[in-house]
Symmetry: C2
Subunit: 97 residues, 2 copies
């Protein structure tokens, strides 16, 4: 009962990278294909695929294949559930600024 929730750790590890957060912000608006995501970055396509893989392992995004393309979308429930679950562990400070 004093142990750490490793599921949440994979969520936080995924979210600890600014490029991945930027991808999440793009996907928060609408579903996008990999190449559409690439268009927003200087990074090369394999790096984007790598980050998408990390996000997908953490259940933060989901994907759908359509012809040659793969569309990614945000799993907003995962974000809410991990964040609110984490907050609740440390309740007592109330709502921050």
């Amino acid at each position: 009962m004093m142990e750490v929730d490793f599921d949440c750790c994979s969520f936080f590890k995924a979210v600890a990278d600014p490029n991945r957060v930027k991808i999440m912000m793009l996907l928060a608006r609408r579903e996008l294909s990999v190449s559409e995501i690439c268009a927003h970055f200087k990074m090369k396509q394999p790096s984007i695929s790598h980050h998408l893989g990390v996000l997908k392992n953490a259940r933060i995004v989901e994907s759908r294949k359509e012809g040659k393309e793969v569309f990614y979308r945000l799993n907003a429930c995962c974000v809410s559930s991990c964040c609110s679950g984490f907050m609740k562990r440390f309740a007592g400070g109330g709502e921050g600024a």
Copy 2:
């Protein structure tokens, strides 16, 4: 307006390590000195100090010196504010499990 919040990134990077989360859980109950924290880990004291430094830089913990000892306490407001701020960015999925 499409840029990433780097303050929150330092929070998430800090929280992405299981040992640091465990420290946070210990401090959620009560203020503790460094050696009291050490007693809960197999890690050596300098590693604990390192983690405490990371948590402190991220404003997740605060410290107070008393004699030879340094007491750390959780800044629960920081946790709530970062988590809830992050959730709100990705609102739309509602409350998760």
